[in-house]
C-alpha cells in the first residue's frame, strides 16, 4: 500500500457556510506533506475529518485504507496506527513527563519505549518534571512524545512549533525528519512557510475550501520560473529590477560599475511570497 491517504471530492458545511468544497488529496507513504492555508480556509476541518474527529457530508476518504468515519472497535484498531498531535493542550499538569508518556504507552498494541521516546524529543532532563513546570516549547515536545509513543505509521502535526524560539524549531525539524526516516508518514499544518520549506516533500495550498495547488516547495506557484529581483546601490539610491535572466543582467551591471556592484543582491521569490500571492489572487 503506497497511498496512505486518499481523499476525493470531500465536502463539509456548517449550516450555510461551506468549509470544505470538493477537496482531493493523495498522500504517499513516507512523505512529509504540508497543508497550508489561511485561517478559515478549511484546513482544520479537512484534517479533523481525516483524524476521525469530524464527520463529512460527502466524498470518499481513506486513511491507512480505512474510513475514519467508522465508529466502534474497528476505529480503535485504526487509531492504534495513528499519532495525533493537536494544537496546544494544557492537560496533565500534575503528572511528570515520564508518567504521562509511559501511561499513554498502555493504550497501544506495540508502543515504543517511553524512555526512548522522551530521549527522542529531547526531554530526558525533564523526565521527572511535572507537566505544569514545562516551558511552551517543552510542552509541545511532550505533546509530540504522546503522539508518537504508539509507534504510528501516520502522524498528524497541527502547528507543531508555534511559540518556539528559532533554535528549538530547528531542533524540532530534525526530530520530524528522524521520524520520517524511521518510516512514518507525516501530515503537517503550519503557519510558518519556512517550516514547510524546510520539512515538506510536498505542500498543498488550500483556500476557500478548495485545494489550489499541490507541489514541491520549490515548484509551488511556478516559483522555479518566477522572476528574480536584483537590487543594488547607485549613488544615493537603492535600485531594483525584476528579470527572467538575472545572470545576464548582473554581468551587464558589473561591466557598468567596472567590477564590484555596490550592495548587490539577487533574490528569488520566497515560498511566502508565492503563497501570499496565491492566497491574494484567489481572494479577489
Amino acid at each position: 500500500m503506497n497511498t496512505v491517504i486518499n481523499v476525493s471530492n470531500l465536502r463539509k458545511s456548517y449550516g450555510s457556510t461551506t468549509a470544505v468544497n470538493g477537496v482531493d488529496l493523495e498522500i504517499k507513504k513516507g512523505e512529509i506533506f504540508a497543508l497550508l492555508g489561511p485561517n478559515g480556509a478549511g484546513k482544520t476541518t479537512t484534517i479533523e475529518i481525516l483524524e476521525g474527529f469530524r464527520d463529512r457530508d460527502s466524498g470518499d476518504v481513506r486513511v491507512l485504507d480505512f474510513d475514519p468515519a467508522t465508529k466502534g472497535h474497528a476505529g480503535q484498531l485504526w487509531r492504534d496506527r495513528l499519532g495525533i498531535v493537536l494544537q496546544s493542550t494544557l492537560d496533565a499538569g500534575d503528572l511528570t513527563v515520564y508518567e504521562s508518556v509511559s501511561h499513554f504507552a498502555h493504550y497501544y498494541d506495540s508502543p515504543k519505549d517511553a524512555r526512548e521516546v522522551i530521549e527522542l524529543v529531547g526531554l530526558t532532563d525533564k523526565s521527572n518534571a511535572l507537566g505544569r513546570t514545562l516551558s511552551g516549547g517543552q510542552r509541545r515536545r511532550l505533546d509530540v512524545a504522546l503522539g508518537i509513543i504508539g509507534n504510528p505509521e501516520l502522524i498528524f502535526l497541527d502547528e507543531p512549533t508555534t511559540g518556539f524560539d528559532p533554535e528549538a524549531r530547528r531542533a524540532f525539524w530534525v526530530l520530524i525528519k528522524k521520524l520520517r526516516d524511521e518510516g512514518a508518514t507525516i501530515i503537517l499544518t503550519t503557519h510558518y512557510l519556512d517550516e514547510a520549506e524546510a520539512l515538506a516533500d510536498r505542500v498543498a495550498v488550500i483556500n476557500k475550501g478548495q485545494i489550489i495547488e499541490v507541489s514541491t516547495p520549490d515548484q509551488l506557484g511556478g516559483r522555479a520560473h518566477s522572476l528574480a529581483t536584483i537590487t543594488w546601490r547607485e549613488g544615493d539610491y537603492v535600485r531594483s529590477e525584476r528579470s527572467a535572466h538575472p545572470t545576464d543582467f548582473v554581468q551587464k551591471l558589473s561591466v557598468k560599475f567596472g567590477g564590484e556592484i555596490p550592495e548587490l543582491s539577487v533574490k528569488r521569490a520566497s515560498l511566502e511570497d508565492i503563497y501570499l500571492e496565491m492566497i491574494g489572487i484567489t481572494h479577489e
Binding site: 480503535q76 487509531r79 492504534d80 495525533i84 493537536l86 503528572l95 498502555h106 493504550y107 498494541d109 506495540s110
Partner: protein, 268 residues
C-alpha cells in the same frame, strides 16, 4: 501487520491504568483534596457543636447530621467532583487528546469510577471516625445494617457518578463549572434534609426533594445509623427501604442514558 492480539490492551486493563493515573493526579492537587475531604468534617464540627440537642429519644442532631453528610459524600465525590472536573478536561483538551488514541471510551469512565470509589470510601471513613470520636455517633449495630450501608454506598455512588458524567455537559466552560454545579448540590442538600430535620421542612420542599436521589440517600443513611425506633418519625412512618433503592436505581438508569446520549469529547 505485526500486531499480536494476545497481549493487546483491553478496555479493562486500560481502565485500571486510568484509575491509577486519576488517583495520582487527584492526590497531587492538594488544595482540592483538602477541600473535598476536610470541608464535610468542618461542617460536621460546626453543626455538631451548634446543635448539641437531642431530636428524639437516643438520637442527637449530630447522629442525624452524620447520616446526611455520608449521603452528601456520595454526591460530593461523584456528581460534584465529576461535573466540575470533566468540563475542565474538556476545556484543556485532555478529552480530545484521549479521543485521538485507541483508548476505549469505557476505559475513561472506569478510571473515573475508580477515582470516585476511592474518594467516596475515604470521605465516608473520615466522617465515621470523626462522628464516633467526637459526636457520639453509633456505628451500625448488626451485620444486616452494615450490609445495607454497603448496598447504599455502591448503588448511591454509581448513581452519583453517572449523573456527574451526564451533568458535565451542562457547564459551558471548565472555569465556570464549579459555579454551576456547587449551587445545585447545596440547594439539594438543604432540601433533602442534610442540614435540617427533613420532616421540619415545608411540605413543598419535601415534595421537590423527593424527586431527586439525595433525599433518598439521606433517608437510607438514617435507616443505617439511627435506631429503628426513629423510623416512625420519617414522613412515611417507616424507612421505605425498597422505595429508596428503587428510586436511586431509577436515577442510575436515567443518568446512564443521559450520559451516553450527551457526552462530548470536545467543546462546541
Amino acid at each position: 501487520m505485526n500486531k499480536s492480539a494476545a497481549n493487546s490492551p483491553t478496555a479493562i486493563s486500560i481502565g485500571l491504568q486510568r484509575g491509577k493515573l486519576e488517583i495520582k493526579q487527584f492526590m497531587r492537587q492538594r488544595e482540592s483534596v483538602v477541600f473535598t475531604m476536610l470541608f464535610p468534617l468542618i461542617l460536621l464540627a460546626i453543626f455538631g457543636s451548634v446543635f448539641s440537642n437531642s431530636i428524639a429519644k437516643g438520637v442527637t442532631f449530630s447522629q442525624y447530621f452524620v447520616a446526611g453528610m455520608i449521603a452528601s459524600g456520595l454526591v460530593n465525590t461523584g456528581f460534584q467532583q465529576l461535573a466540575i472536573m470533566i468540563p475542565m478536561e474538556r476545556e484543556f483538551g485532555t478529552l480530545k487528546r484521549l479521543r485521538g488514541t485507541p483508548m476505549p471510551a469505557s476505559s475513561y469512565f472506569i478510571g473515573k469510577a475508580i477515582l470516585v470509589t476511592l474518594s467516596m470510601l475515604i470521605q465516608v471513613a473520615l466522617l465515621l471516625v470523626a462522628g464516633v470520636l467526637f459526636f457520639g455517633v453509633n456505628l451500625p449495630a448488626t451485620g444486616q445494617k452494615w450490609l445495607l450501608l454497603a448496598a447504599l454506598l455502591v448503588l448511591g455512588s454509581a448513581c452519583s457518578t453517572v449523573l456527574g458524567i451526564a451533568f458535565s455537559n451542562v457547564p459551558k466552560s471548565g472555569r465556570g463549572a464549579s459555579a454551576v454545579v456547587s449551587p445545585v448540590v447545596i440547594v439539594l442538600q438543604f432540601f433533602s434534609g442534610v442540614f435540617f430535620i427533613f420532616t421540619d421542612l415545608p411540605h413543598w420542599m419535601q415534595q421537590v426533594a423527593a424527586i431527586f436521589p439525595l433525599k433518598w440517600m439521606t433517608q437510607g443513611a438514617r435507616s443505617v445509623f439511627l435506631p429503628d425506633s426513629f423510623a416512625t418519625r420519617e414522613v412515611a412512618g417507616n424507612w421505605e427501604t425498597g422505595k429508596t433503592f428503587a428510586i436511586i436505581a431509577a436515577w442510575l438508569v436515567l443518568g446512564l442514558l443521559w450520559a451516553v446520549r450527551s457526552f462530548k469529547w470536545e467543546r462546541d
